[in-house]
Structures are given as structure tokens and as C-alpha cells.
């Protein structure tokens, strides 16, 4: 599987999870579990490249990092809005 195919596969997995009503943010490990025939390091590189392209975004739990589709599920501001001045 080349890098472009891997990136497509990652997006496909994320979209399918959301469609099924599953998690909108997933760990790198979960991606690796879904694509067992690819090297974990290649999956990491592809997922990070997708973030740079704006097709995925990071979401922090504070101590670990998850990946999500931009605009889907809880936003980066974690539902916190700036109060009115």
C-alpha cells in the first residue's frame, strides 16, 4: 500500500466510524488496528501528513493525542465559548 492509498484508507476508516455513529476521535493505535497490513510508522506518517493537509486534526486529551475529522464531533475548543464582553 503506497502513501496515497494509505491516506485514503485512513480517511475512509474515519468517515465510516462517524457514519456508524462511532467515535469521532480515535487513537493512532486504533488506526493501526484497522490497517494491520501497514507498518505502524507508515500509518503515523500518513496520518500526520493528513493533518498538515487539513484533512484530519489533532485532539488532545491532555496527556495523549487523538485524530479526528475537522468539524466533526467535539471541536478543538471542547465546547467552550469565549464569554460575551
Amino acid at each position: 500500500m503506497n502513501k496515497e492509498e494509505l491516506k485514503q484508507k485512513i480517511i475512509q476508516i474515519m468517515e465510516e466510524k462517524v457514519k456508524k455513529g462511532g467515535k469521532t476521535k480515535i487513537y493512532l493505535k486504533d488506526l493501526q488496528r484497522e490497517i494491520p497490513d501497514a507498518n505502524p510508522r507508515e500509518i503515523k506518517n500518513a496520518a500526520n501528513e493528513l493533518v498538515r493537509e487539513g484533512k484530519l486534526e489533532y485532539f488532545s486529551t491532555g496527556s495523549t493525542v487523538m485524530f479526528g475529522l475537522p468539524g466533526v464531533g467535539m471541536g478543538l475548543e471542547a465546547g467552550v465559548e469565549k464569554p460575551e464582553e
Binding site: 487513537y27 493512532l28 493505535k29 486504533d30 493501526q32 505502524p40 510508522r41 503515523k44 500526520n48 493533518v51 498538515r52 489533532y58 485532539f59 488532545s60 486529551t61 491532555g62 496527556s63 495523549t64 493525542v65 485524530f67 467535539m74 471541536g75 478543538l76 475548543e77 471542547a78 467552550v80 469565549k82 464569554p83
Partner: protein, 432 residues
Amino acid sequence: MGEVKKHDTPKVDQLKTGPWPSFVDDIYSYAEKHKNQACFDIMGQMELSYTNKETHWKHGGIVGVFGYGGGVIGRYSDQQEKFPAIWAFHTVRVHHTAGKWYHTSALKKLCDMWDSRGSGVVNFHGSTGDIILLGTVTDQLEPIFFDLTHQLHWDLGGSGSNLRSPACCMGKSRCEWALIDVQELDYELTMAFQDELHRPAFPYKFKFKFSGCPLDCVAAVARADMSFIGTWRDDIRIDQEAVRAYVRGELKPNAGAFSDRDWGPFDIKKEVIDLCPTKCMYWDENEQKLYINNSECNRCMHCIAVMPEALRPGQDTGIAILIGAKAPILEGAQLSTLIVPFMKVEPPYDELKDFIYKAWDYWMENGKNRERIGELIQRVGLNKFITEVMGLTPIPQHVRVPRDNPYIFWKEEEVEGGWTRDVAEFRKRHPA
């Protein structure tokens, strides 16, 4: 600048009455001087937390700036109406220098930047080692990153499932016992693993720490997933005349470090020989001579620290590599385990980098979510990790406790003829 709103904080104020310098004093004096509402609001929210006995911080979401998967920890107040100046109060981790040496002009520039773009509150340093800039809003993150990298030439540190900012002791810059150039090693590995530092790669966090000698001033053995400790493999150098000077009381033990009270005359047997963990030392009273069985020494360096003028580490130096320390999350706190007792390290450190990649590759493939590498080793077994994963030959020093289970499980390849050997043929030769 409008009027600032101060909060009544009787519980927090009590912290100013103790014998030690108080962060409450520091934050209030900064808040008064700069009329900084965020600082007054931190104190107000802390007072509320003391009253309610629960935190009013929420965290998560934001991880960094564009392209970075770490370096910023999102933090929000859940009392936004009461404390609007800290509605968002993100923490920015700035990668510290090796050995934590700074030029004051660099620190002044950093503080000026933080005065204008953040709360003005800093923490030198956080547990991981980074400089912690406490409290800014989301809109300021990219400008802070631009200022840090383009004007100050510094970088963000690690957070999340990344390699965290590697940390080392002061090494050869101050310490006569530094057996390796930890600052060089720290810098080299930091630059080599930039991708792992800034982009999430692992099931959980991963920390490197470097100590120049086994005294381990950075507490790498307790805190790092992978510790690199300076060590030696030849003999401890002994100056017998200096040993005798210690015994006669002419030299102060521990270089006078415990001279604040009278501990009585120096007793080499009680303070050195009996405290040797491997019992590899012997003081001959008649000969007035110290003997060390170096093959049994585990390089704890206690004797050298007690009698620094008499004993010095050997001269054939390198590193010991230990893996697996962590604080209690899944399996409770644990210290690192010695994996490689000695490795020569010289630029470009290729052998060391190969070792690190080997451990990472296995962890990335087999580690569970939020499982540190030490917990993975606990789960699969140290034996398997050493032999099958790292391809090393086990040595007696890897064994912490002798086997108490009399049953040995052999693998097929370890048994002559495997599982399919002809038992009838075997019994002909061994009828009983």
C-alpha cells in the same frame, strides 16, 4: 487599561504565612504591578477550588500550533462568568536547553514576549523539564510560536503521545563526575528525533533522560522511559594514601556536604564498606589498604561520593541503558530495568539510534493505548523483550529475583529433536 477586579481569597492567602517563598506572593505582586486581571482571576478560582474541594479547570482539545501535535495543553475555566480573564488559560511548553543553561538576555526576551502575549506567569521548569508558560488564549498561540521560533530561536516542547523533551544533567559543564557528554547526547538525539517530538507517533508518552554518572541527578531511573546513565567498565581508581587520610580524619567525607552537625569520626566500615550493595569492598585494617572486587561492583558510586579524593570512576566510559520507569497510571509506579549494562557512545550515535528505533517499533506495534513501554515489558515479560525484541543475550544482571518456580517451559527449538522426536528410540537409550 480598565479597573481590575480583585477577589477575596482568605484561604489562598494563608499560603503566604509559611516559612517558604510563596507562589501566591509572586502572582499577587505581579498582578498588582501590571494590573493583570488574569492573575487576580487565577487566585480567585483557586480560592473557589479550596472552598469546593474540586478543580475548576477543564483541559483537552488544543494540542499545539499548525503542524505540531504537541507543545500546548488546552486549559479552560469552568467558571467563566466569575473569572472571564482566564476563560482560556492554555499552557505552552517551551523546549529547555540541554543542562538548562540560559543567557539572561534570552530569558528577558522570553519574559517580554510572555508579558504581552500571555498571563506573565511562568514555571521554571515543569516535571518533564520544559519551561512552562502558564496561561494564554487560543488566538495568541500562532503569534507566540512565531515569536519563539523566528525571534528567540526556540521551539515548543513535547506533549501528548509524543517523545517528550529530552532532559539531561549539567554534565561536563559543571561536574567532575560526568562520564559522558550528556549535553551533546541530549542535543544530538533531540535533533535526530524531531518528528517524534512534534508529531504523535506512539501509544502514549515517551521520555528520554540523560545522567552523566550513576548518581543520576536527573532521576532518570525513576522518571524516564529510556534512561541513559554514564558509567565505566574498567576499575575504580584508588588513591590508597587519600583513603588512609579519610580514615585518619584528615579529609572530610562527602566533601564536607554533611558538616552541619557532628556525626562523630569517620568510620569507613560503617559508612562505606557495609553500605556497598554488592559487598565487593574490603578494608584491611592491618595493611591500611582498600580492596575492591570490580567484577562484582554495580557502579552505584556511593563509595566514590563519600571519598571523592580517594576514589574515582574508571576511564573506559560509556552509557548504561535502562528502560521502563513511570509514575502510577495503569500498573503503579515502577523504576527502570537495566537492559544494556554498557555501550560506547560516540557521534553520530548510530548504534544508539538503532537500539531506540528497535524498542519504539515493537512498542508502536504491540503497545496498547496509554500503555507505557515499561508496562508493555511487564505484560510480555522481560525475557521476551530482551531476547526476542531487542536481540540481546541475557546476563545475570538482568535477573532481579532468582527463579522460585521449579518448572521450566522449553521452546521446541531448544529441545533436541523438537516435539516430534522418536520417543521409542529415546527410551531404547534411556530405559528407566
